[in-house]
Symmetry: C2
Subunit: 254 residues, 2 copies
């Protein structure tokens, strides 16, 4: 059983990609299941096999504790941890080759808070897992935002400590020229050229960032299904052992 | 007139620090004003001179557009831009030496979205400004989270394009040993030692990150007022010209 997490900022298209990628796997006769971890989502275009909303309701939390919308999401996930045993039991009944995990747009859960990592460890157990991080291409087409999203991607990779694939989502919203430019930025020089004047601090940091990419972000669209073959191939490369990230040596779990 | 932005993740203590820092400035006979940019905050411990809630209500947006709490905040700020002229007019009437700007915990506005930068440029106009980024020390005492928060700090610094001071907030919640350890991490070697085994990718990135810090994060507490002198000194160094970040050459505004 393999777990595929989908993380990214609000509106980056996680839920749509989860839906399309499930269909893609089903078309290949692969068993799939979906876990929804977003306690504040209203409607889902798929039927989850596990739904965090059965355990917690972000709106109730908001009212009960008099919290703002932002804090209520964080508290919801914290509260969820008190039901860890029940959740683990329910999840362990899922049987599938691939379990797709949809996550809240509140990326800070996975980037800066323990609970995201604890929750993901709980779900994964002894299985292999990969994290697909969505860079919203509609935001990322601005070079400075592209860099910021790569920094966020690194924060999440570092904090979740899972092998990670970067994806440029929603590419159907870009024209050909925009997409070509975005793709060219996985080359550090091209990216730095597009940024205009930057200070030395940024120059070094961007070079480290680009060097740290194992492979360029995969452009995908959940509307046209472009890029799903490439995404599947990247996932296979990691999960089926092409690159063994999960050895004790190079990627210890804390 | 100088603008001091306070940014950081939800719960990092921005609002409390704004309140305490205003008092600190008032004690020195300095004129101050406060701008609140958080459309979802319930109660404020200070009286803002400009309040974004007079223009937009995140709860109304949530109901009107049927949005989740996360998206409603982002849409709120987007909607706000349509009232940019009115906002600019109201803000331009503020007269003070220092204008403190409180921001939403939804840091992605400032890290990954245009609106945060546009809004801050609108507010700043031709004045000098500095961004105080709060690393929540209660989260940051875990070494991996410390790194993630530094990555977020870089994303915000890069995206806002303002001189930035990092602050370790809420240090009254730490014991002496925890605080000493946290302070030691502004040295790259100490930090890497605390991380345990990491891969080469992380090693290089962390070194770039630490090198990019102009000065170590300033430990502060809004409960004990510890560190406010140091924070004020750092702000002076930047705003009063000790270091001229805002020249065309080393920090161009895009």
């Amino acid at each position: 059983m393999y777990y595929i997490f989908f993380t990214g900022t609000a509106g980056s298209g996680k839920t749509s990609l989860v839906k399309e990628f499930q269909q893609y796997l089903l078309d290949q006769q692969l068993d799939t299941a979906i876990i929804n971890l977003d306690p504040a989502v209203e409607k889902l275009p798929y039927t989850p096999d596990f739904d965090v909303r059965d355990y917690i309701d972000a709106y109730e939390v908001m009212q009960k504790f008099g919290l703002g919308p932002n804090s209520s999401l964080i508290v919801s996930i914290d509260l969820l941890m008190s039901k860890a045993v029940d959740i683990k039991n329910e999840i362990s009944e899922i049987e599938a080759n691939y379990v797709l995990v949809d996550t809240p747009g509140q990326v800070e859960l996975f980037a800066y808070r323990d609970t995201g990592r604890i929750l993901s460890s709980l779900i994964i157990g002894d299985n292999k897992a990969v994290n697909v991080f969505l860079l919203d291409s509609f935001l990322a087409k601005e070079a400075r935002t592209y860099v910021s999203l790569l920094l966020l991607s690194s924060a999440i990779r570092f904090r979740m400590n899972l092998p990670q694939i970067n994806v440029l989502s929603k590419i159907d919203l870009l024209n050909k020229k925009e997409l070509e430019e975005l793709n060219s930025w996985s080359n550090g020089e091209e990216l730095i050229d597009s940024l205009g004047e930057i200070d030395d601090y940024s120059f070094d940091l961007i070079n480290s960032l680009i060097e740290s990419l194992d492979s360029p972000p995969v452009p995908v669209s959940s509307t046209t299904d472009e890029g799903l073959d490439e995404l599947y191939a990247e996932i296979q490369k990691i999960l089926a052992g092409g690159e063994d990230y999960l050895t004790e040596e190079n990627s210890p779990r804390l």
